[in-house]
Subunit: 441 residues, 2 copies
C-alpha cells in the first residue's frame, strides 16, 4: 500500500484528507492554513466552480474560465496543502483509507464535501434528453443544445418541426430553473433577435414546469409572486402544480399531455454523492449523510461530512439548505472542529447563519429575501450582481465578469455563443429535414 | 431538389455561395454587402476564429470566447446574407450545386474558402499522439493534454515517468511552433511554478524540432537568429536540421533517437481542404487549387478559390503565403471580381500586398519583419500585441483580451487553465503509476 501520510512512521503530522474542491472543501482547506496538519485535497476536476453563475455559462452570458479557477492556483501559497486531480473510488473508515483511481491515502481526519448531482426520481433514462446543470461540462453541453436548436429551426421547412426546435422546457422552478428560464427567454428575445433569416428567434417558447403551487418554493410567498410576474413579463410560460410524466427525444409529457420539444433542462431534484453510502451510517432519501450536530458522523468522530452531501439539522429542526453559503460556513466549521480536537478541546455544534436568498430572472429582474427586507426588481438585481461579484474568487475573474456584464447589459449581446461540436458529431442535428428550405420571403 | 436560390424562376437576384467563415470567406461576404446578390455562407462551425491567437487558447492564456465570435452575429446587420451551420459534402460545378449534410444550394457564383488542416506527410497514424492546432476543439484538447501532463507528473513516483510526462515536443519551427514552444515554456517556468508539491514545473523540457537549418524559415535570416536566441533564453531546446522519424504514445523518434514523451504538438505541415479535389482542376502537392490570376478556376469563371485552400502566384512567381492578411485580401478581391462580372466588366488579377510578418515568443519577446525595418525584443512584442488586438473582431473581445494580457503580463498568471474532461474519460491518465507517491520532501 502506498502511504501518502507516512503517519506514525517518519512524521507525526496528522493528515486531513478533503474530498471535493467546491465551496465546502475549499473553505475547510483554507481554514486549516495555520493548523499543524498536512492537507490532501482530492477533486476529479482541476477547478473550483462558482456554481451560482453556472446558468450564465449555459446561456452564453459568461465563458467557462470566468467562473472557474484551478484549485491548485487558489491554494498555491498554502504550503501545507497538496492537491490531487483524481477520482475517489472507495472509503474505508475502519482502516482510515481513501482509495482513488491511482493512489491510496491514509488519513487521520476525513472531510467529505463531494456535493450532489441531479436526480431523476428513478427515471434515469430521462437524463440523456434532459441534462442537469452541475459541472462546466453540463453547462457547455446545455449551451450547445440551446444554440443548436435555433440552427435546426433556421434550416427546417416544416412549421411543426420549427416550433418543436424552438420550444425550451425547464423542469423545476427553484432558483436554477427560474434563472435558466429567464436567461433563455432573454437570449431568444433580445440577443439572437437579428441573427436569423428564416425564423424569428423571439417566437421561441420557454416553458417552466413546477410541481409546487409556486416558483421558488423555499422563498417567501410574496417573492414567489414577484418572480412569477417577472418571468411572465419575459414571456416565460410558467406552469404551476404541473408534473412531468414522461421525457423522450421528441417531446415532454406534462400531466399526460405531450409538448413537442428537443431541448429539455432538468432543474428538479438532487441526489448526494454516492460516496456517502460507503460510510455505513444513516442517509436520507436524497442520499445525504445524516450528521451529528458537529458535522461528524456517528461512531467516527474523525470523519466529517459537509455541504450538499450532508443532512444537518438547524436549531429549529429544519435542515440546513443545500446552498453555497451553508457549504462555506460548514467547511469553516469542520476545520475549526478539527483544530479543536487537535488541541484536546470538545467539538462545537454547527449553527447555520442564514443571510438570505436571492435569485435573478433577467436584466433588472431579481428577487432578494434578506429576512429584514424582501424586495424585487432592479434593486434586487443590483444586489445580486454585487453579491455574486464579491464572492467570485480571483480579482481577474471579478473584473472580467463585471466588464462582461456591463457590456451585455448595454447591448444585450452575449459573448460566449460558441458551438464547439461539429455537425458530423451528430450532436447537432437530430433529423435532417426532408424538404428543407422554403423560398425566402 | 431543394433550391435555395430559385434562380431563374421567381427571382433574378444572383446567388453567391461562400463555403467557409474564416478570414477569406468573411471578407468576401462583407464586401458583397451592397452588391445586388444574395449571399449564402456555409460553415461547419458557428464561429469565426481569430486563428493567429489560437496558440494562446492552447496554452491557457486566453479563453475560447476571447478569440471566436458567432458568424451570425458578425453578419447580423447585413440583410443580404444567410448563414448556415452545415457541412459541405459535394460540389457539382456542372450543375452549379453545393450539397451539404442537410440541404442543396444552387449558386450563380461560388467562393471556396475552406482553409487547410495539418498534414502528417502520409503518416496519419501520428495524429492521435501529435494533434495539430487549427480549431477551437484542437486548442482545448491540446490545453487538456499540457495541463494533464503536469498532473500525471505530480502523481508519478518513478523519476523516468515524471521526466517523460514533463517533456513537451513541438514538431515544426514555423510561427505556430515557435509560439507554442515559448508559451509552454513560460507556463511551466512561471505560471505553474508554485502549483505543485512533488515536482518543480520549471524542470519541464520543451523541445522544438525543425527540419530546416533555422526556425521561422520564411522570415529574414536575421530574425530567425533573434527568435532562436529568445527561445533559448526561455530554455527551449531547439533542434535544427532535425527530422521526426516516428511518433508513438510513449516517445518521439528524432533522427532515429527516441525521446520519451506523452505530449507532442504538430505544427509541421498543412494540407488544403479536400473539397478542392472535387473541382476537377489542377491541385498542388498540398492539395491547394491552382487558380487563375483573378483567383477563378480554369473553365469555370464563376468559381473562385481563396485563402489557404488556393495556390496563387505573385507577380514575382512566388506563391501567395498561407497567412491571414493574404486570406483577407483575397476575400475582398474575389468579391470585387464578382461585382465586376455583374457589371459586365472584366475581372482583375489579384496582387497580394505583403505588409510583413510577426511572431511572438513570449513576454517581451517577438520578431517583426516589416520589410523596411526588421526588429526583435520588447518593441516587436508591443507591435505584435497592438496588431493582434487591432484585428480582433468585436469591441468586447478586444477589451477583454487586452485586460487579460495586461493582467497576465503583470502576474504571469494564466486565467484559462481548465481541464474539462474528467479522469475517468481516460483522456487524462495513460497509466496509473504502480507505486505512486514518494514521501513528501
Amino acid at each position: 500500500m502506498t502511504e501518502i501520510s507516512e503517519a506514525g512512521t517518519k512524521s507525526k503530522t496528522p493528515v486531513v484528507v478533503i474530498v471535493g474542491g467546491g465551496f465546502a472543501g475549499l473553505a475547510a482547506a483554507r481554514s486549516l492554513k495555520k493548523a499543524p496538519v498536512r492537507v490532501v485535497l482530492i477533486d476529479r476536476s482541476n477547478h473550483h466552480l462558482f456554481q451560482p453563475l453556472l446558468y450564465q455559462v449555459a446561456t452564453s452570458g459568461l465563458a467557462p474560465a470566468d467562473i472557474a479557477q484551478p484549485i491548485r492556483s487558489i491554494l498555491r501559497d498554502q504550503a501545507n496543502v497538496e492537491v490531487y486531480l483524481d477520482e475517489v473510488m472507495k472509503i474505508d473508515t475502519a482502516d482510515r483509507l481513501v482509495v482513488t483511481a491511482d493512489l491510496t491515502f491514509r488519513y487521520d481526519y476525513l472531510i467529505l464535501a463531494c456535493g450532489a448531482r441531479h436526480s431523476y426520481f428513478g427515471k434515469d433514462e430521462w437524463e440523456q434528453y434532459a441534462p442537469g446543470l452541475k459541472t462546466l461540462n453540463d453547462a457547455i453541453s446545455i449551451r450547445h443544445r440551446i444554440l443548436a436548436a435555433f440552427e435546426v429551426a433556421e434550416k427546417a421547412s416544416d412549421p411543426e418541426e420549427r416550433k418543436q426546435a424552438t420550444t425550451f422546457i425547464i423542469v423545476g422552478g427553484g432558483p436554477t430553473g427560474v434563472e435558466m428560464a429567464g436567461a433563455i427567454s432573454e437570449l431568444a428575445r433580445f440577443t439572437l433577435k437579428k441573427d436569423f433569416r428564416h425564423i424569428n428567434s423571439a417566437d421561441a417558447r420557454v416553458i417552466l414546469i413546477e410541481a409546487a403551487p409556486r416558483v421558488l418554493p423555499v422563498f417567501d410567498p410574496s417573492l414567489s409572486e414577484k418572480a412569477l410576474q417577472q418571468l411572465r413579463q419575459l414571456h416565460v410560460d410558467v406552469r404551476l402544480n404541473a408534473k412531468v410524466t414522461k421525457v423522450t427525444e421528441d417531446y415532454v409529457e406534462v400531466d399526460g399531455v405531450p409538448i413537442p420539444t428537443r431541448t429539455v433542462i432538468w432543474a428538479a431534484g438532487n441526489v448526494a454523492s454516492p460516496l456517502g453510502k460507503q460510510l455505513g451510517v444513516e442517509t436520507d432519501r436524497q442520499g445525504r449523510v445524516v450528521v451529528n450536530p458537529d458535522l461528524g458522523i456517528p461512531g467516527h468522530p474523525e470523519v466529517f461530512v459537509v455541504g450538499d452531501m450532508a443532512f444537518a439539522k438547524r436549531a429549529n429542526g429544519a435542515p440546513v439548505p443545500g446552498v453555497s453559503p451553508a457549504a462555506l460556513q460548514g467547511g469553516y466549521h469542520v476545520a475549526e472542529n478539527i483544530i479543536r480536537i487537535l488541541k484536546g478541546e470538545p467539538t462545537q455544534p454547527f449553527h447555520y447563519f442564514d443571510k438570505g436568498s436571492m435569485a435573478t430572472i433577467g436584466r433588472n429582474a431579481a428577487v432578494a429575501d434578506l429576512h429584514v427586507v424582501k424586495f424585487g426588481g432592479l434593486f434586487a438585481w443590483l444586489a445580486w450582481v454585487f453579491v455574486h461579484l464579491y464572492f467570485l474568487i480571483g480579482f481577474k475573474n471579478r473584473v472580467r465578469v463585471f466588464f462582461g456584464w456591463v457590456f451585455s447589459y448595454w447591448t444585450y449581446s452575449k459573448g460566449s455563443r460558441l458551438i464547439q461540436v461539429q455537425p458530423k458529431d451528430g450532436a447537432l442535428l437530430h433529423n435532417p429535414p426532408a424538404d428543407p428550405l422554403p423560398p425566402q420571403k
